[in-house]
């Protein structure tokens, strides 16, 4: 090793502006988390497999009759999506806390909440998006008509990112705790209830052939609200966990 020739990078001037703009920062953090998440394939696929399992068990235990299945489909699929989200949440910040990545992110000249938002979105792409994509396929086995499939998928597309965001608060609070899975679920599940009710309701309305814009608008509003407020809360919570 050429120790004598070792040159370090220039020391930043005190007035330096941060190297990256917010959009680039978001992309850099998002892409890295995506790369790491996809290589932890067994962790990433757990949520999707759990979703399939729960959804396929209901017809076996209840009744295979088409009208029964159609009636329970919105609720079953939405509950399964919520449970799948809860199951994967403990992975959101755990590894970053244990390997020291979070410590590094704390002291950068960038807003921590913004980076956590990028991480949460990457987490959703890996664990939530497969659930959204599989939902219409599984819904067909529940004899859901094509008209309701679109609404179901769209409601999940609007709702599951909100679930992941709300969950990130609990994940940030419990990242430093051992065996916090159930505690995490109890913290965030109450926050998730409005999304669950609106999502299942929208699909129900579509099944009945009624206007679905009301619940979908409300879900969109909840998503916007979560995007704007959750990062601030999660950033505060994760600093406590890292102490």
């Amino acid at each position: 090793m050429a120790a004598a020739k070792l040159q370090t990078a220039p020391v930043g001037e005190a007035t330096d502006s941060p190297a990256l703009g917010l959009a680039t920062l978001f992309r850099v953090v998002f892409v890295r988390d995506l790369q790491v998440g996809l290589r932890r394939w067994t962790d990433a696929s757990n949520a999707a497999l759990f979703f399939i399992l729960v959804v396929t068990l209901f017809p076996l235990a209840l009744s295979p009759r088409a009208e029964v299945l159609r009636m329970i489909a919105p609720g079953v699929i939405w509950i399964a999506a919520l449970l799948a989200t809860l199951l994967s949440l403990h992975l959101l910040f755990r590894a970053d806390l244990e390997d020291g990545t979070l410590e590094q992110l704390f002291n950068l000249p960038y807003p921590l909440g913004w980076m956590l938002l990028a991480k949460t979105l990457a987490h959703w792409v890996i664990t939530g998006l497969p659930v959204v994509l599989m939902a219409p396929v599984l819904a067909i086995t529940y004899h859901l008509p094509a008209s309701a499939l679109g609404v179901l998928t769209f409601s999940l597309l609007l709702g599951t990112p909100t679930l992941s965001l709300l969950g990130s608060i609990g994940a940030a609070l419990t990242a430093g705790l051992r065996g916090a899975g159930v505690l995490l679920a109890f913290i965030v599940a109450p926050l998730m209830l409005p999304v669950l009710m609106l999502g299942a309701r929208a699909t129900d309305l579509a099944l009945a052939g009624e206007n679905v814009t009301g619940p979908l608008y409300l879900m969109a509003a909840l998503l916007v609200l979560a995007i704007s407020l959750v990062p601030v809360v999660a950033a505060g919570a994760i600093r406590i966990s890292a102490d």
């Binding site: 990078a9 020391v11 790491v36």
Partner: protein, 217 residues
């Protein structure tokens, strides 16, 4: 330059200063009313037996652990405020090396280099830290010493003025230890400031070094 006395008065100002820091661990004080000041371009060596609170002191400086009382200042202003305002860049190297085992050494370093705007220096830094041959290996395949070298490379790519290094020579061979010392000397020569927690004495040449002994004060 350095004071560790109950009065806690800072007699000489430094660029980095801690005033009357107190930290509990369980029912005992790790340190009580500890004060220090580090002028820019100098190194502070934090020494002491295992469990004396070296790591805790570094984490308190970095803002990762809140002390029971006391303040950390940088150029006279609150340390954390200076970081948030972008007036201070700090590089912290703790026990956790912030390396993702699934990614290659190069990918790991590129992430932090991009955050500092130094992505074009990654290859050069990998060579300087002796990691050229394992740049494309996943970090999980590296030895403990190679991982520690990667952590040093991350510090070099941080463009930080203040370095906080916790046992930077752990697991390193002789060449690696010399590289750490050379990096610190170089950084001090550029007017940087370094706080090191270490068991063994570092050979920092003519650089101005002060010592802070914890645990038996």
């Amino acid at each position: 330059m350095l004071f560790n006395r109950p009065s806690g008065r800072i007699l000489e100002s430094g660029v980095l200063a801690g005033a009357e820091l107190t930290l509990w661990r369980g029912t005992t004080f790790l340190f009580e009313e500890l004060s220090f000041a580090v002028p820019s371009g100098t190194a502070l060596l934090v020494e002491g037996p295992n469990g004396a609170g070296k790591t805790s002191l570094l984490r308190v400086i970095a803002g990762l652990t809140l002390p029971e009382s006391g303040t950390i200042t940088w150029r006279g202003g609150d340390f954390q405020e200076q970081i948030r305002a972008g007036r201070l860049r700090m590089a912290f190297s703790g026990h956790a090396l912030a390396l993702k085992p699934e990614l290659s050494t190069r990918a790991n370093l590129e992430f932090f280099a991009r955050l500092a705007g130094l992505q074009e220096m990654v290859g050069e830094t990998l060579a300087l830290t002796g990691l050229r041959d394992c740049a494309d290996l996943e970090v999980r395949q590296l030895s403990a010493g190679q991982k520690r070298r990667a952590a040093l490379a991350r510090i070099l790519l941080s463009r930080a003025e203040l370095w906080l290094l916790d046992e930077p020579q752990t697991n390193l061979d002789a060449a690696g230890r010399q590289a750490v010392e050379a990096a610190i000397r170089n950084h001090l020569g550029q007017g940087g400031t370094v706080v090191v927690a270490a068991h063994q004495t570092l050979d920092l040449g003519s650089a101005s070094v002060s010592h802070l002994r914890l645990g038996d004060a």
